[in-house]
Symmetry: D2
Subunit: 294 residues, 4 copies
Amino acid sequence: MTDNLSGIFPPLTTPFTDDELALDMLLRNLRKYERRELSGYVLFGSNGESAFLTREEKLQIVTTVREQTKKLLITGTGLDSIKDTISLTNNAAEKGANYALVITPSFFKSEMKHLTFLNYYSKVAESVMIPVIIYNVPKFTNVNIEPETIIKLAEHPNIIGLKDSTENPARISEIVSHVPKSFKVIVGTASVLYPGLSSGAVGGILALANIAPDECLQIYNLFVENKFTEALELQNKMIPVNRAVTAKFGVAGLKAAMDLRGYSGGNPRLPLEPLSEAQLIELKMILKKASLIE
Amino acid sequence: MTDNLSGIFPPLTTPFTDDELALDMLLRNLRKYERRELSGYVLFGSNGESAFLTREEKLQIVTTVREQTKKLLITGTGLDSIKDTISLTNNAAEKGANYALVITPSFFKSEMKHLTFLNYYSKVAESVMIPVIIYNVPKFTNVNIEPETIIKLAEHPNIIGLKDSTENPARISEIVSHVPKSFKVIVGTASVLYPGLSSGAVGGILALANIAPDECLQIYNLFVENKFTEALELQNKMIPVNRAVTAKFGVAGLKAAMDLRGYSGGNPRLPLEPLSEAQLIELKMILKKASLIE
Amino acid sequence: MTDNLSGIFPPLTTPFTDDELALDMLLRNLRKYERRELSGYVLFGSNGESAFLTREEKLQIVTTVREQTKKLLITGTGLDSIKDTISLTNNAAEKGANYALVITPSFFKSEMKHLTFLNYYSKVAESVMIPVIIYNVPKFTNVNIEPETIIKLAEHPNIIGLKDSTENPARISEIVSHVPKSFKVIVGTASVLYPGLSSGAVGGILALANIAPDECLQIYNLFVENKFTEALELQNKMIPVNRAVTAKFGVAGLKAAMDLRGYSGGNPRLPLEPLSEAQLIELKMILKKASLIE
Amino acid sequence: MTDNLSGIFPPLTTPFTDDELALDMLLRNLRKYERRELSGYVLFGSNGESAFLTREEKLQIVTTVREQTKKLLITGTGLDSIKDTISLTNNAAEKGANYALVITPSFFKSEMKHLTFLNYYSKVAESVMIPVIIYNVPKFTNVNIEPETIIKLAEHPNIIGLKDSTENPARISEIVSHVPKSFKVIVGTASVLYPGLSSGAVGGILALANIAPDECLQIYNLFVENKFTEALELQNKMIPVNRAVTAKFGVAGLKAAMDLRGYSGGNPRLPLEPLSEAQLIELKMILKKASLIE
């Protein structure tokens, strides 16, 4: 197992059969990903439908995946409740998780600012057995954690990184220029992988990597080899696909695209709806245009 | 115990000592409320800091309060996960809860619309042992459930009401005019108690009732007695206080006001911060101006 | 001419032929409205497509309408530029306008707060020849003017009222309880006409009054006669229609509904699009359900 | 005069004395800028307080500046009214403007989408004498024009570029990869100058260039010379300054920073307020930390 928090990590989707966890499908996907140079996996991130999973289901997923891979496992264990976050994180660590991806608390939106974020992350970080990665995703939380707050939190020995799911690389370069080298910034969406890497990020946790892991790895590798023009070209080709499996069609779109690409996607969990026929046709056209299906 | 879902319900705050549940303080408050003509209580609603409580703490609260009162207990048991919502609701029911107040799911904001809400509430309602009250509170969830969706859900025999925490009474009158009499609409903030009642609501779940239960009851009673001008006057007097303990100073302000009014407020739980000295002084002036303290 | 700023005012739509001002159509509509007990008219308000009209066109409209009616004319003369607002207001006054409806400035959204609003409205009010009505419409401006700011501005002798186009009557009752009787609050949308009047408003400037003036007048009159239940019932019947001609289908929907009701609506001006066939069918169904067409 | 729309353009602020246009101050600033390798100037852009200027004042500014420089002049002539936009643009062209920077119309926010934008920009572009640059600035307009709409509009022979003031470079790379080489994308804020250039932009219209033109030029030149690390380092140093003169302190902050840097800033126009003493001290510290003042 490498300890290097860089490169490409797919945030694994969670497959269901009849609305119940389908771990066999998850493992089928995992075996395909294991053949690639992926750096590890995120379990029950946003696109893993974490919001719809019980604590027991989450721990089952860590256990199952841990048995099948030696790669890094990052688990989405953040909840508004500090107590719940700590206990879930420690339970996940016992089952083999390497890092905790901790989403910003967000219920009391107008109260979520510098001091409350310091309170929250300091308390969590000092109480858990594995290192904490801050997770900023305003499109789901409607709160935003400012660079200056991240820079302050980066001083904590057990807070070792940030997944930033805005599309704003100015945040990345500002943060990177103020934190120690050991603090890693990872972009949270493939649309800004290239400018994110240009601005100091060291990797990506990318929904797109569930359906196009090779292309995501290639953008990353081209960047590392200073082949900037090729990196940008490939990223641009992927932008419409990335939009389709995130903003446009959401988790249902991501899972449908997995099915089309030979992975086990299946339906999202209730209350989400699968794609309509019309949406599925549009999705196929987008994948086709990007040469991801024939 | 009355079964009538009308009148005034305080959503009880949850007191903490050293950041741990302080049930003795909760009971001290409860004894004071029990002397009033309140219709019941909401346990772990938004202002009960539900977001920061573990499942075990929530169930402890129901058990403790149920032992001390025969009034209606409405419990905030809604979570994004349908499974968790069902099991928490049924556990709360076993401990004596009468109704489940189920907040709209909200994580995947852009997916939360007519059909997904129907999926969610139908599944929950058919799987729980107590009646469901839909809870719409866009200021915390950033999603809004439309009148037409509520009207459709009101057909379900186990969905019996709505707590609406917008300040828009047009929603209330539109809903009330399209649902059976047995479906009850309750306003979620004291600033619109009077226009809400005028528009067809039958009661209020009001943070303000934690600190000014008599005034809330009086507005309600004046309205019932057709003393509209007096009702409106008293409500107007309370609007600045209500703003102070909700939008302006949040839960910290509500708890500080409880302390000032002789209840056991205490600090909010981490990561929230208590009021600053300057905020406390402003709060005192607001309460004084409304004759709630001397 | 009455000077009493109360009752129902339609904000007249502006008809176009081949995208040019069609004053003959405007007068045709006006003649129909003149037979009703409307209190006056708003010229080039939001729904009058003020944003798309040149200064010359606006002044033409005042001149033309003034010649045909003795009723109150309220003109939408607010712009971000104080200089332009003053000169347009004074020009409109010379052509016969009685009041200036001055929308909150909004370009620098984050700067629009208490002090800047005081600067703006004080400067305008002291420089124009007719009284100023503040116009708050966050759905178009994305800024909101707080009750405390309005209460302060109400002290100015030439600021005599507020059109509030939020749907929140708590704002109305709070304002009304703190300003002199001579300061009038008028609701800006029919969905809250009844609770607005209940909360202290004295009238409505209502897009709906362009297509259903009699129903708007009836709600108002029922309220004045203390026939609250009937007032509420009629308002509820109108809510879906009001939504159709405002939030749902916008100006294009309002104009299409005018055509269906025998007024001269026509197309909105470029860049707006007229309704599609499907939208038109839906609109017809909504009007039919409310018995506004057969 | 060069025709090349690339490099750095300051959007000139508009100085006032006693709230009236102070063209002498403007020329004093211009003389200093003229000594730099700036590509041209934007007149009455957002930070030029275009919203507060009359048409006559705008035309005075073009005339005055045109007499003093041979560089490119880009003028902010977009208004919601198509008629006004066309006539102001043509008047500005007669006075010597080279390009029209046309902000997205925004009053009817919910109607501003693909088709309405096509209507608006096509009509404007075919009716004006100088080429049109689309201006997307959601923080002021609360509307966003999508890449697919821009790509479509780029087919029009008289629409030759985009100023994009989001901080999202994924938009830039997607657009650039779908439009002809002759269509230029320019970033609208210095925080993303480097990632913007990396993603295919060819220049910047930067408020920061009013106070730090040399630093902005240096970032641009370093990028052009493939000195990416140095470019990024300098940009990161400027990010706090850029935030201070845009999001944090607005136009008042930008003008105060100009005064501190030896330019003629002065106060913003009414209704805006100048900085408070406390804000001024904070601004000084930020400029000092970036070595822009001693």
